[in-house]
Amino acid sequence: MFTVFTRPEAMKDNHTHYCPGCTHGIIHRLVAEAIDELGLRERTVGIAPVGCSVLAYNYFNCDFQEAAHGRAPAFATGIKRVRPDLVVFTYQGDGDLASIGTNEILHSANRGEKFTTIFVNNAVYGMTGGQMAPTTMPNQVTTTTPTGRNVKEVGYPIRVSEMLATLRTPAYVARVAVHRPHYVVQAKKAILKAFRYQVANRCFSFVEVLSTCPTNWGKSPKEACDWLEQNMIPYYPLGEHKLPDRDEP
C-alpha cells in the first residue's frame, strides 16, 4: 500500500489547542505541505502572530519566532533583510493583521519585502473571545457588537487583499478558502505559488484564507462552513487579486 495522505514533515506530531472544526488546522497543514513540497523546511522561519495561532510554533516543524501583536511583518522584514537566504513566512489573524497591524503589513507589501504572509480571515477576534474584527461582516453579532456590526457606526468590513492589490509595487495577492474540499485544493495551489515567488526572490506574496471560528460564531463546525459560504464568499471574492507579472501604471 502507498500512503497517499499523512502528516507532512513540516508539522510536529503535537495535538493542537484549536477548537474542534476550526480551520486554522487545515491552513497549518497546507502551509506545511507547501514547505515540504518545495523542500524548504530546513531554511524556513515562521512568524507566529498573537491570536489563536500564537502557538503555531508548537505545530510547525521549523524555526519560529513569535511576534508582538500585529508586528509579524516587521519581524519578517527584519529577518529577511539581514538573512535573505532564509525563507520567511508570517501567519496572522485578521485582528492581528487588519486591525492593530495594518501599518506593518501595508508598508511591508509596499516595500516589496520578499516574504510570504498567510492571512487567516475568520471575521472575528478568536483568541480574546469573539470581539469585532475589521473583517467582521455587516450585522454579525460579536461580543463588542452585541446587536450586530452596524456599518453606519463602524463602517464596512475591510477587504485586505483588494487593498494591498492597489499598491504599485509588484506582489502576489490571492484570496482562498478552506471550508470545502475543492476550495482547499485551490488554497494549496495559491500557497505553493506564494512560496515559489518568495524562493525566486520575485516579490512579496500574500494569501488571504477565509477561515471559520465555530466557537465565537456560536455555530457547529458544519454550520460555520455554511455560514462562511453564504456570507463571506460573496463579500470576499476568491481569486488572484494581483500578480507580480501583471503590468501596473
Binding site: N61, D63, A68, A74, G78, R83, L86
Partner: protein
C-alpha cells in the same frame, strides 16, 4: 587605533556600530538624531550592510526583534517619543533575551516637548518603559569619544547578557562635533548563536524565539532567570568615574552625561576659589553605582549630596537609595532643553555650603 577625526556625535555613533561589527540598522527619523540614519544611509551600502528606514518606531523596533532573533547584531537610534513607541517591543526583546542596542538621544519632554537636550528619560530607561520585570543595561556617555567607545562595548555586552542595551545621550552628545578615535580593540566577535537563533533548522531541532509562557510556573521561572541576569549585571557592570574625590571635599555631586561635564567645569572653578567639591559620574545608569556612591557619601568630610540632572529630578531617587539617609540628598536641575551653566551649578552648590 586610528587617528583623531572631528565627527558629529550622531555620525560617530553610526560609525562606531559598524566598527563593532554591527551592519544592520532599522530606524525612523526623529530630531535630534536623524543624522545617525542619514549617515548610515550612505555608509551601510559601502560596507555591505543593511540600512532600512522603517514606517514607524513601532515597526523599527519589531524589525530589530526579528533580525536579532535571526542571530545578527542589530541596532537602532531614536529620541524620546520614538523610544516610548518602542516600549512594547523593548519589553518583548528583553523577555526573548535578544541582544539589541538602542540609542536614545534624549530630547525634552514630556509629549512632543522640544528638541533640545534633556535627561528626562532616566526613569524610562532604567526602570523599564515597557511592562513586566526586565532591566535594560543603560550606559550614558559624556563625550563623543565616550559615546563611540560605549557603543562598541554595548554590542559585546548585548551578546554577553543576551539582553537589550540602551545608550542614553542628551541632544548635545548627538549634535556636537568632537575629535574621536575608533578603538577597534573594543570590537568583539559575536558568539555562536545558531543554538537559539532562527537560522533554519538544518542539522538540529527547530528553535523558537518567543515570550509567551502560559504556564505560570514556567513564566515565573523565566522571570527568575531574567532577574538573575540583572543581578549579574549589578555584580559586574557598574561603571562610573570619580572627579576630584581625592581630597577632603565637602559636597558630593552625582551627575551624568554632558551635564557632568558642566559640573566638572563648576568644580574646577570652585576649586580655584578654595571650595572642594567631589563628583561621582555614573556611566552605567543601570546597574546604578549604588555602592561607590554610598561609599563616597559616607566619607566623613562629606556634608551633603547633590544630584544634578537635566530633568526635574529622576536619578535623585536612585541617589537616595544609594545614600540611604547617611547624608541629606538634594537636587538641582533644569528641564525643557535649558542646560545649567557652570555658574548655575556653582550657585546651586554654594547654597548648600
Amino acid at each position: 587605533m586610528g587617528k583623531k577625526i572631528l565627527m558629529k556625535g550622531c555620525e560617530a555613533i553610526g560609525e562606531a556600530a559598524i566598527r563593532a561589527g554591527c551592519k544592520h540598522y532599522f530606524a525612523y527619523p526623529i530630531t535630534p538624531q536623524t543624522e545617525v540614519a542619514e549617515y548610515l544611509a550612505r555608509r551601510m551600502p559601502e560596507v555591505g550592510g543593511v540600512f532600512l528606514q522603517a514606517e514607524s518606531e513601532v515597526a523599527a523596533s519589531n524589525m530589530l526583534f526579528g533580525a536579532a532573533g535571526a542571530g545578527v547584531r542589530v541596532f537602532t537610534s531614536s529620541s524620546s517619543p520614538g523610544i516610548s513607541l518602542m516600549s512594547e517591543a523593548i519589553s518583548y526583546i528583553a523577555a526573548a533575551e535578544l541582544p539589541v542596542v538602542f540609542i536614545n538621544i534624549v530630547r525634552s519632554g514630556p509629549g512632543l516637548g522640544g528638541i533640545l537636550p534633556a535627561q528626562s528619560d532616566y526613569f524610562q530607561a532604567t526602570k523599564g518603559g515597557g511592562h513586566g520585570d526586565y532591566r535594560l543595561l543603560v550606559l550614558a556617555p559624556s563625550s563623543v569619544q565616550e559615546a563611540v567607545d560605549l557603543v562598541m562595548t554595548a554590542f559585546t555586552l548585548a551578546d554577553r547578557y543576551r539582553n537589550p542595551i540602551m545608550i542614553i545621550g542628551d541632544g548635545m552628545i548627538g549634535q556636537m562635533m568632537e575629535p574621536v578615535e575608533f578603538h577597534d580593540e573594543l570590537a568583539s566577535e559575536p558568539p555562536e548563536k545558531s543554538g537559539w537563533a532562527t537560522v533554519g533548522c538544518k542539522g538540529r531541532d527547530p528553535v523558537i524565539v518567543k515570550t509567551l509562557y502560559l504556564d505560570p510556573v514556567a513564566c515565573h521561572k523565566h522571570n527568575v532567570k531574567l532577574k538573575e541576569k540583572a543581578d549579574r549585571m549589578v555584580a559586574n557592570e557598574v561603571r562610573g568615574e570619580r572627579y576630584n574625590c581625592e581630597g577632603d571635599y565637602r559636597l558630593l555631586l552625582v551627575s551624568y552625561g554632558t551635564m557632568a561635564r558642566v559640573c566638572k567645569t563648576a568644580i574646577d572653578e570652585l576649586k580655584e576659589q578654595g571650595i572642594e567639591v567631589g563628583m561621582y559620574r555614573p556611566i552605567s545608569l543601570f546597574p546604578f553605582p549604588i555602592l561607590p556612591i554610598r561609599q563616597e557619601a559616607n566619607r566623613p568630610h562629606v556634608q551633603a549630596v547633590l544630584s544634578v540632572e537635566l530633568s526635574m529630578g529622576q536619578m535623585v531617587e536612585d541617589v537616595e537609595r544609594a545614600v540611604l539617609g547617611a547624608r541629606p540628598v538634594h537636587f538641582y536641575g533644569m528641564a525643557g532643553g535649558l542646560v545649567p551653566t557652570p555658574d548655575d551649578v556653582t550657585r546651586a552648590i554654594r547654597e548648600l555650603l
